[in-house]
């Protein structure tokens, strides 16, 4: 079986790339072995949130210019500003078609509340996390109440409230916390008090409980007009549920992203997968790419765990297997490596230099910037230090940026995934002309 392109890794980068490729008519396959980083991410898309530990406010276009000038090896510098904005617009449109709208504050960062009550900058968010109206409700200085479900062990609004109180922005807003009851959920033999966010998201999706929850929210909120909840408001028909809850309660409802699994992240994943399928793309989940065969400096075929004797081949390959967390990068005792193609990585063989002495070090950790080295065309270098011309890399597997410190994880994944797709499309169209 020969495809136009095979994408290894079905996270944010791989899926963005796959949708772009398949929507341009390329025959596309994604092979992905496990849950991607979307299952733990906040569900907001960061573009560039911080510089030297400070929030970036103001025009992001200018901030991007500065970053690109300063850091030549940054993925953003490699793909350029035009492509970054174009990719985000593309991304927004595909999600919007799947009824998952993302909001931004023009080309600026907005801020959302984390479960510790700390503010976090982001560029794109779902309607329950940021939308224009919410900003107004903060400014209205009516009350805000942080609700939780009694017995839910993954969220503690008391901590968040205390931190918000210290923030000058919230100084004049009356804040309180409250508890509401879990719906009487009978479909489980498990201890309900050990529910994870995913179990509760399912409860929300079962609309039987919605009016009861709405009732509890209204009572719990009292006269406050903004309510925060942990991030459970469904995965599949979230926008509708959120709108209905707001309507039924008459309150603005904000979600606060929580410990994994991340419901907002899963919404994005669901929307991306649906979009990809609607373009006819193939998705093979639960299978791991284990090895490759190289011929004349190019990838000839790859093999997977489940079909070890089948040679999967394509005109182009995209490696979007994530960082250490997802297994795209591996570390040995004194070695950082990329396990499928043995690509050249920026890492270093002295493990004593991989991390800082303090976990919350101001300078973060060097290992966060480790990854595959590429040229501006996103081609990586093989063991012989030569570019592999039919392989591209995208997303968290790339080197040269620190997604946490810069607040750039989602932005890099989407824009490099998109850029890789453009390169592939260009190449395949050219070769078919020839």
């Amino acid at each position: 079986m020969k495809y136009d392109c095979i994408i290894i890794g079905g996270g944010l980068a791989g899926l963005t790339c796959a949708i772009k490729c398949s929507s341009e008519g390329l025959s596309t396959a994604v092979i992905s072995c496990g849950a991607s980083a979307l299952h733990i991410a906040s569900g907001s898309i960061d573009l560039l949130g911080y510089s030297s530990g400070r929030y970036l406010t103001g025009d992001l276009d200018t901030h991007l210019d500065q970053l690109i000038k300063r850091k030549k090896n940054h993925p953003y510098a490699k793909i350029g500003k035009k492509c970054i904005w174009e990719s985000l617009e593309f991304f927004r449109q595909i999600l919007s078609k799947e009824r998952l709208n993302l909001f931004s504050m023009d080309k600026k960062n907005h801020f959302h509340i984390t479960s510790l009550g700390i503010l976090k900058p982001a560029y794109l968010s779902q309607r329950s996390i940021f939308n224009g109206r919410l900003l107004d409700s903060y400014k209205l200085k009516k009350g805000l109440v942080l609700l939780n479900f009694r017995g839910y062990r993954d969220y503690y609004p008391g901590l968040a409230m205390n931190q918000l109180k210290k923030n000058p922005l919230f100084r004049d807003i009356p804040l309180k916390t409250g508890l509401i009851e879990l719906p009487h959920y009978t479909k489980t033999a498990r201890n309900m008090l050990e529910f994870r966010s995913i179990d509760l998201a399912r409860v929300f999706e079962d609309e039987t409980y919605l009016s009861k929850i709405a009732e509890d929210i209204r009572t719990g909120a009292g006269d406050a007009d903004v309510v925060t909840l942990p991030d459970f408001i469904g995965i599949h028909n979230y926008e509708k549920l959120h709108a209905r809850l707001e309507e039924m309660t008459g309150k603005s409802i904000i979600e606060i992203p929580n410990l994994p699994p991340s419901i907002p992240g899963m919404r994005i994943e669901h929307a991306l997968k649906t979009s990809y399928a609607s373009h006819g793309g193939e998705f093979s989940s639960g299978d791991r790419v284990t090895g490759c065969s190289m011929s004349r400096g190019m990838v000839e075929y790859i093999t997977t765990e489940n079909y070890s004797d089948t040679r999967l081949s394509a005109k182009c390959y995209i490696l979007a297997a994530g960082s250490f967390f997802s297994g795209g990068l591996k570390s040995g005792y004194n070695l950082i490596h990329e396990p499928i193609f043995n690509l050249k990585v920026a890492g270093g063989s002295d493990r004593t230099k991989w991390a800082s002495d303090q976990f919350f070090s101001r300078g973060s950790h060097p290992f966060m910037e480790f990854g595959v080295e590429t040229g501006t065309d996103l081609h990586p270098f093989g063991a012989d230090a030569k570019k592999i011309k039919n392989l591209y890399c995208a997303g968290a597997i790339l080197s040269g940026y620190n997604p946490v410190m810069e607040g750039s994880g989602g932005g890099v994944a989407i824009s490099t995934g998109y850029k890789a797709a453009l390169e592939v499309i260009k190449k395949i169209k050219k070769s078919s002309l020839e």
Binding site: Q163, N167, A355, F360
Partner: protein, 543 residues
């Protein structure tokens, strides 16, 4: 505050003394600068020596160990695992050491049996198969946290008082005698306690305590580093049959195994900032692999170091060659200062004997005639064997492993945790199966101040994920239960993750690196823990 005896230091020795005195009806207050078992007591192998390790070089210690080994198996059984131990000779080792070891053991009264290599491999299947000989000894393991906690609990139940997170800053003296101490704590500020007797059980810090009283005591700090792998790869304690040296022992414990240890003398002023050197990791791994070749296939979980509390004896300088013997000093006799007693040296597993010796001396001084009872009365938790079967029947619907973990850690006292309320069984730390009920019990009854203390009482955050999820849960829960303010919870969360990081950082490769990336994403990326400053100083104003 006023009492009969002040005990400085809450290690095994100090908590053991508190228990001993309380059982004799003597009033005492123990002062500890951090938490119980936060010093050397919490930083060793947890080996319940049979005595064999010392049988060749230090017969006195060997005899002490052998005797205490038998006593502890009776009074502290919920803190002990009778794993048994092996001494194995590798091809590169001097084969004659084996005979010397057998002789030493027989002199010290230790039950050592030569067994065939085949039998040794049957007992310990992952052992290096090229061993030349093997000796079986009654080594075991002992959990130092559980042990100290049980001693504290027993003392408290008999009227003993404990003040943790308070450091002794000075010793009050009156006319050639001590009359009390002054302490500093973050919570209470400065305060003083009066008593005519002070027992210095500050381990390696004893030198500092003595100098507060103007007395010279010279300790020889010798650092030992250890490495934990995330899999219980061996069943028994595996020792190398040679003169004790770096990396020659592998000890199983809970769900992990531990490679020990190195020995490096360090400066006295370095004892509060212990670091595992990178080459120590190499040494431990290289030598650990010689005993159990598979050991490095498991993920390295943590590395940490402790300092042996050894007293300088003129002429001796190297860590391993000094006697590990117990030293009891009556400073009235030695220095003419009435009321001060120092007890140092020894081992974790000779803590009871050390406590008995110090308590005997002190009760003699204050005219209490009651004899030591600690060799006979079991510790709280070891009173009776708790029955898993019975508990499973009493608490239907609660998983066997959850009940089992509570019993494993708290022995007979698990009955204080097991209650028929589902909320009680919510697992807060899933790796170690620590429930809300257990946390509540520890906070209420075991003198627990923060999440790190709680780890010592319950094993929270000690499993494979090293606190990735449970740190936040625990911080939130402590606030919800009313034990902390939200601000304190946030600070504890950060401190706990930094404390975990100290042990993870030296072994950061493979899955450990992956796990750390995850934890970093959660606390820094998702929660923004490092952003607090920005919010509080108003730099988010423009938002």
């Amino acid at each position: 505050m006023e009492t009969d005896v002040i005990i400085i230091g809450g290690g095994a020795t100090g908590t053991g003394i508190a228990r001993d005195l309380s059982l004799r009806g003597v009033r005492s207050i123990l002062v500890e600068k951090d938490d119980i078992a936060s010093g050397t007591t919490g930083r060793n192998h947890g080996l319940l020596h049979s005595g064999a390790r010392y049988a060749v070089k230090d017969i006195d210690s060997a005899v002490e160990c052998a005797r205490e080994n038998r006593i502890l198996k009776k009074i502290a059984r919920h803190c002990i695992e009778e794993t048994g131990g092996l001494f194995v000779t590798l091809p590169e080792d001097d084969p004659s050491y084996q005979d010397r070891l057998m002789d030493g053991c027989s002199n010290a009264g230790i039950k050592a049996v030569e067994i065939s290599c085949k039998d040794a491999l049957a007992i310990e299947p992952r052992l290096n198969s090229s061993i030349l000989s093997a000796i079986k000894v009654p080594d075991g393991t002992i959990d130092p946290f559980r042990l100290s906690s049980a001693n504290m609990l027993s003392a408290m139940e008999n009227g003993g008082k404990f003040i943790t997170h308070a450091a002794v800053g000075s010793i009050i003296m009156k006319g050639g005698a001590v009359s009390g101490i002054e302490c500093v704590s973050a919570k209470e500020g400065r305060f003083s306690i009066h008593a005519n007797i002070i027992i210095n059980a500050a381990g390696i810090w004893s030198q500092e305590i003595c100098s507060l009283a103007g007395i010279k005591l010279k300790m020889l700090p010798s650092k030992g580093s250890m490495l934990i792998v995330d899999y219980r790869i061996n069943r028994t304690v595996v020792n190398r049959c040679r003169v004790p040296s770096d990396g020659d022992i592998v000890v199983p414990g809970d769900t992990v195994s531990l490679i020990g240890t190195t020995s490096r003398s360090i400066e006295y002023n370095g004892i509060d900032d212990l670091r595992v050197d990178d080459d120590e990791i190499d040494i431990l791994i290289r030598n650990g692999e010689k005993l159990i070749p598979d050991i490095t296939r498991s993920r390295a979980l943590r590395a940490y170091a402790g300092v042996r509390p050894l007293l300088a004896v003129p002429g001796n300088t190297a860590g391993r060659d000094i006697s590990r013997g117990i030293v009891l000093i009556d400073h009235e006799e030695r220095d003419g200062l009435k009321g001060l007693v120092t007890i140092v040296g020894g081992k974790l597993m000779t803590y009871r004997l050390m406590a008995e010796m110090a308590s005997d001396l002190v009760t003699g001084k204050i005219g209490v005639s009651k004899k030591c009872l600690t060799a006979r009365i079991p510790l709280p938790g070891s009173e009776r064997l708790e029955s898993l079967k019975k508990n499973l029947k009493l608490f239907p619907g609660i998983s066997k492993s959850v009940i089992g973990s509570a019993m494993y850690r708290h022995g007979y006292r698990a009955s204080k945790i097991l209650k028929n309320d589902k909320k009680n069984y919510r697992q807060i730390c899933e790796c170690e199966m620590v429930t809300e009920g257990e946390i509540g019990y520890a906070m209420k009854s075991l003198n627990t101040g923060n999440i790190t203390d709680l780890r010592r009482r319950t094993r929270i955050g000690m499993g494979p994920c090293q606190g990735a999820l449970c740190t936040y849960r625990c911080a939130g829960l402590l606030n919800e239960m009313g034990h902390t303010t939200p601000g304190e919870s946030l600070r504890m969360m950060e401190e706990f993750l930094e404390e975990r990081w100290k042990g993870v950082r030296p072994v950061l490769w493979g899955d450990g690196l992956r796990e750390s990336e995850f934890t970093y994403w959660i606390y820094q990326g998702l929660f923004g823990l490092g952003n607090i400053k920005n919010d509080n100083d108003g730099s988010s104003d423009e938002i």
